[in-house]
Symmetry: C2
DNA sequence: ATGAACCATAACCATATGGTTATGAATTGT
DNA sequence: ACAATTCATAACCATATGGTTATGGTTCAT
């Protein structure tokens, strides 16, 4: 059990900020549900212009929430759920009710596989 | 297992927005760790002015992340971790890696007390 | 070769955001 | 009664944010 000092955690900050915007969250949700997509495809469902989508993707990229892959003239983006870890860790620390539930299960697992 | 349409979830929106700011997150962390506190007490650890703290508390209040109780001239605030549920639910849906971990533990619990 | 498609960036704009100081209302202490 | 404490709100300000249109560089199709 690692104890994290409440001092500004840069990684967590990026993730929290990135997911604060509903349009950005929708883009991430889209990538999570329907898998890898081009900017063009994302734009069609985003409700905002292509440059806006590109900028949102840049923010998600800085938070490591998405990765990209160039293929010819199109860029394919995919969600990287592992980058949610800082947010999950934060909830583990400060979400008391939820933490209890989690730790109860955690302890149970440990007792199981010895 | 409830399926939530990705349409703007107002509750989740408030929670995500409220926790996006590091100062606000620090205030919530403070309340979670040290329990109920007055605005004055919170201000001493916040690094910003008292009015700034009050405004942050208003935002947290709208997200239901804190509750308050007037007692004479001071207002006592406390964290309400249950309000984190929308964020946890969102992670359950879109945090693939984490979801697996969670469901594995969830299933284990069911088999135990089943 | 030329035009269309795809994407990122630049330039710009309106509004939101997070901070400040000033102030006032209510409560407490002297 | 009067001064001090606590808190919220008002007024204000600088900057961040999220959107737009314009543009240019690649890549693909014809």
């Amino acid at each position: 059990m690692v104890m994290v000092h409440p001092v500004a955690n840069a990684k967590a900050n990026h993730v929290f900020r990135a997911l604060a915007d509903p349009t950005r969250r929708a883009i991430f949700e889209n990538l999570s549900r329907r898998g890898e997509q081009t900017v063009h495809s994302l734009t069609r469902h985003a409700g905002v212009s292509q440059p806006a989508v590109s900028k949102h993707l840049t923010v998600l990229k800085r938070a490591r929430l998405v990765r990209h892959r160039r293929e010819g003239r199109e860029t394919h983006y995919r969600a990287d759920a592992d980058a949610l870890a800082p947010m999950v860790n934060w909830l583990e620390q400060y979400g008391a009710f939820w933490r209890e539930r989690f730790e109860r299960l955690e302890g149970l697992l440990e007792r199981m596989d010895g």
